[in-house]
């Protein structure tokens, strides 16, 4: 088979972002052009993906497109995998994009500035998301994955004046960022371990991957990535928080597409990792808990956006559990996963309309609270009634009522739990949890319907002030509910007339393991003709849910304890970081120096521990070989020891000078006349310098000395270490073979005349030290006078001369910084 071209897919992925960027070039007034351009991006993606599929068909999961090299050294290139899973998600994402763009136009209305910012960000997101689902290289997936997090961050914090929006955006990015890094880490671990860097190879070699500890660790890390993105318990709190974003964003990113990236990733991983022993228990437990928790919390919400956010959490939990159960089919061949893409699509097709209609209600009614919807059906206005109708139709699908795809999707899940229970009886718990979650969804619908028709009032007070701005309808108002209507129509179309649905999906579904559903979705009545466990479960859920909906249970805000995780983590990191860091960074020079010196000795100690020969006293070192030298050494030591003893400052300087003069003596013993002369002059100038400076410095305070013993202990350890190192090196010098070439010998030999090594060129001087300084190592000397010049520039810069004093003092008064002692 000819490898498909990657460029077409690349353009498909890039089109929305490019179109979005292009809208930035338009002037604010060109609204319609802007809109058309922004819509053209996702439309192009849909078309191009369709063309690709038309040309190449749905690729098998192990056949990628060709590659475009990018960073060959890192083995990173651009290639795509347009298999069933990928193309389904790509079409879903691009298709939703097409719908959301005009909706956003209606939602933002006349706020041209918002639209100008919105379309580029949205296009960027669409591209990123398309990249996630189509990428073949694992790292390319990570790349786009992080880009979706970035765009989500920007969109959640959309409202610049709402400080809380910023915090929520931060929480979302921080949580998904954790996942992104875990995913990156997992992929790097896995790729480094197995050498597999592509999804296609992963599929091809799924059977041969060993299940050792590294692979399990990599899998867990990757799962963390998927779970945070798909808002799984216990890190789901960012998703309800993300509802701070404008409604088009909630509908698009936070219900239909981005949050499904985690589910998508699990779908990608299922063939390769499904057989891991950890797969089923990990996914199913996390997913089931999320599912139930989300449903219960959703039921008790008053704000519609938050309510639907929690149902999204719940459904994402269900999808994760679905793939978790699928592990049994990979590992044991039990039919535990059926029509997974249908189940995902079903969710998108009712959840997005729900959010879209919430946005419509915010503008039409001026509120997003359940209590404010009381009697909505009977209120005037065509738009209101249409919105109410779409709300109820979508709510019915949320409840999984018969006649929708959602109903059959739920049947499929129940069937999977049923099969899995047969293999692992403990999984019956999951079935029960699923029923409970479904019941909650039914109850939500019942309550919504009751409120909308005015049967009974909601929990809240209807007279509260609206929390959203009511907007007068304009010519675009119909776009507030029409996209939702179009989407929800698909639910019912698929549910009532499954033929078309089946034809579409049978080509791309990879996981069909149950013979009962092998031909596709059944007609709406068929489940009732062949009653079984799934139908029973559905009926129980519907019955219990209806009762629950009319009951008084679970009304009013149930506080989600997990909402505390984020603030606590944030504060914990800040406080802990502060404490840890500032336990070192105290601001006291003394502490710093103490640490530096301790580290120095510790490191030398460590080296000595590794190489105990260092501790053996070198042999053949005679301190008494030259008595005069010994005497000079004693003078140096005595002067040095006297230094901390004396306190009178002038005396101290003189003692310092004295120790310097004794050093001069030692240089003479070492036959270094140049050095001795330099040191002598240097010492004189330094004493003058010190005396000058001491008169300029404030008088010392005569407080008692600080902790003499520890200081002395540390100081002696440092001193002994350095002295010991000197001794060792000196020993190496003394024992160096006579003929061993050293730099010194070369300089000696070439100071005056050259040799063949230097092409006969010599230093032409007899004083070897001077020749070294100005010739052999003249570069050192050049650097050294540069240091001198720099130092004096620094001094002049800090202490400006007379002429500048006046200007200087003016400035000091100005800024109040002229504190004089």
């Amino acid at each position: 088979m000819v490898t498909a071209s990657p460029y077409l897919v690349l353009v498909a992925v890039g089109a929305p972002a490019l179109a979005g960027l292009a809208t930035m070039l338009l002037p604010d007034a060109r609204k319609l052009t802007r809109l058309s351009l922004a819509t053209a991006g996702p439309v192009a993606s849909v078309v191009l993906v369709a063309i690709h599929l038309g040309r190449n068909g749905v690729s098998p999961a192990d056949t990628p497109t060709g590659t475009i090299p990018w960073v060959p050294s890192l083995n990173l290139d651009i290639s795509f995998l347009v298999d069933g899973l990928g193309s389904f998600f790509a079409l879903l994402i691009a298709g939703m994009g097409v719908i959301v763009v005009p909706y956003a136009r209606a939602y933002f209305g006349h706020d041209a500035a918002s639209l100008a910012r919105f379309f580029p960000t949205l296009g960027f997101f669409t591209s990123a998301m398309l990249g996630v689902v189509l990428a073949d290289h694992l790292l390319l997936t990570v790349l786009f994955w992080e880009m979706t997090s970035v765009s989500s961050f920007l969109l959640i914090g959309w409202d610049r004046d709402d400080a809380d929006a910023g915090k929520r955006a931060m929480q979302a990015f921080f949580t998904t960022g954790l996942g992104g890094l875990a995913l990156l880490g997992g992929i790097l671990l896995f790729g480094g371990h197995t050498g597999i860097w592509r999804w296609s190879r992963l599929m091809a070699e799924a059977a041969t991957i060993s299940h050792d500890g590294t692979v399990v660790a990599a899998f867990v890390l990757m799962f963390v990535g998927a779970a945070t993105k798909s808002a799984q318990w216990p890190l789901h709190d960012w998703l309800p928080g993300a509802m701070k974003a404008p409604t088009p964003v909630s509908a698009y990113l936070h219900s239909a597409t981005m949050v499904k990236a985690g589910v998508f990733l699990l779908g990608r991983m299922l063939p390769a990792f499904g057989a891991l022993a950890l797969w089923l228990p990990l996914l199913v437990s996390i997913g089931a808990v999320t599912m139930l928790l989300g449903a219960v919390l959703a039921l008790s919400q008053d704000n519609l956006k938050r309510m639907f956010a929690y149902t999204t959490v719940s459904h994402l939990g269900l999808l994760v559990a679905m793939y978790g159960l699928g592990g049994a089919s990979t590992a044991e061949g039990v039919g535990t996963i059926h029509w997974d893409l249908t189940q995902i699509a079903s969710h998108a097709l009712y959840k997005a309309p729900l959010f879209l209609v919430v946005g419509a209600l915010a503008h039409l009614v001026g509120s997003t609270r359940v209590a404010q919807l009381h009697g909505l059906w009977n209120r005037p206005g065509a738009g209101t009634k249409a919105a109410a109708a779409v709300l109820l139709l979508s709510g019915y699908a949320l409840a999984g009522g018969p006649g929708t795809v959602s109903f059959i999707a739920k049947e499929l899940f129940f069937a999977a739990t049923d099969h899995a229970t047969a293999a692992h009886p403990l999984l019956a718990v999951v079935g029960v949890m699923a029923i409970a979650a479904a019941a909650c969804n039914v109850a939500i619908f019942v309550r919504l319907a009751a409120t909308v028709f005015g049967l009974r009032s909601g929990a809240g007070d209807a007279s509260e002030t609206p929390d959203a701005t009511h907007r007068e309808p304009d010519s675009w108002s119909f776009m507030l509910w029409a996209p939702a209507a179009a989407l929800i129509a698909l639910q019912y179309l698929g549910g009532l007339v499954p033929t078309l649905w089946n034809r579409t999906f049978s080509g791309i579904e990879a996981n069909v393991h149950d013979e009962a559903f092998a031909d596709g979705l059944p007609w709406a009545w068929e489940p009732f003709l062949h009653p079984g466990m799934p139908l029973l479960m559905s009926m129980v859920a519907i019955g219990a849910g209806t009762a629950l909906g009319f009951s008084r249970w679970m009304r009013g805000d149930l506080v989600d304890v997990h909402a505390r995780i984020w603030p606590a983590t944030y504060r914990g990191i800040l406080r802990g970081g502060h404490r840890l860091f500032h336990s070192l960074q105290t601001g006291h020079l003394r502490h710093y120096l103490a640490v530096v010196f301790s580290v120095l000795t510790l490191c030398i100690g460590w080296a000595a521990w590794a190489d105990p020969a260092m501790l053996r006293p070198p042999a053949g070192m005679d301190p008494f070989e030259y008595p005069a030298g010994l005497l000079l050494g004693a003078v140096v030591c005595a002067a040095a020891i006297a230094l901390p003893m004396v306190t009178e400052r002038v005396v101290r300087v003189l003692v310092l000078g004295a120790s310097g003069f004794a050093v001069v003596g030692l240089y003479l013993v070492y036959q270094a006349p140049d050095l001795a002369l330099t040191q002598l002059m240097f010492e004189i100038i330094s004493v003058i310098l010190f005396l000058l400076v001491l008169r300029l410095l404030p008088r010392p305070d005569h407080r008692p000395r600080i902790r003499v013993l520890p200081r002395l202990a540390l100081a002696s350890v440092v001193g002994i270490s350095i002295g010991w190192m000197t001794l060792l090196a000196g020993h190496a010098v003394d024992n160096r073979a006579e003929d061993a070439p050293t730099l010194g010998k070369f300089f000696e030999a070439h100071s005056l005349e050259g040799s063949e090594m230097t092409d006969g060129r010599g230093g032409e001087g007899r004083n070897v030290v001077n020749v070294i300084l100005v010739d052999f190592r003249g570069f050192d000397t050049l650097g050294e006078i540069t240091v001198l010049a720099t130092a004096v520039l620094g001094v002049w810069s800090m202490l400006p001369g007379r002429r500048r004093h006046r200007e200087e003092e003016d400035l000091a008064v100005d800024t109040g910084q002229g504190a004089q002692p």
Partner: protein, 141 residues
């Protein structure tokens, strides 16, 4: 700041020419015997500094009428120029060259590193004098 003791002043007036002489001697002899630009510079600096300490700012300005900045400038410039001149001839930095001049019968052997040494001298004097005199000015304020 001045240490205006008469004895000191007299002593310094006497010593100053000597230090300069010795500095010149050390500078010239440096390549073949103890000495060199550094040492000469330091010796001259000691002379300047003691003069500055005993006679004060104004007298010092008469002795050294330029800002020490220019000493550093010329010194570093000279050394840098000597160092980088070989680049023009396709040689690496600091490639030394020598020539022998015949001046009235006596031969003078000149090595390019001597100019380098002179640069060192000027920088050292400029820096030492620059620091000490600036600090001295501070005390005078």
């Amino acid at each position: 700041m001045r240490m205006s003791s008469l004895i000191l002043q007299t002593a310094v007036r006497f010593i100053l020419p000597l230090t300069f002489l010795y500095a010149a001697y050390a500078a010239l002899k440096g390549h073949n015997g103890p000495g060199g630009g550094f040492i000469a510079g330091l010796i001259a600096s000691v002379g300047f500094c003691t003069y500055r300490m005993s006679y004060g700012d104004r007298a010092f300005h008469r002795l050294l009428p330029v800002h020490p900045r220019w000493l550093v400038f010329v010194g570093l410039g000279l050394a840098g120029a000597v160092a980088s001149l070989p680049l023009l001839f396709g040689q690496p930095l600091l490639r030394s060259a020598s020539t022998t001049l015949h001046l009235g019968g006596s031969e003078v052997h000149l090595v390019s590193s001597m100019a380098f040494d002179l640069g060192l001298l000027l920088v050292v004097v400029g820096v030492a004098v620059g620091m000490i005199s600036r600090l001295g000015e501070e005390l005078d304020r």
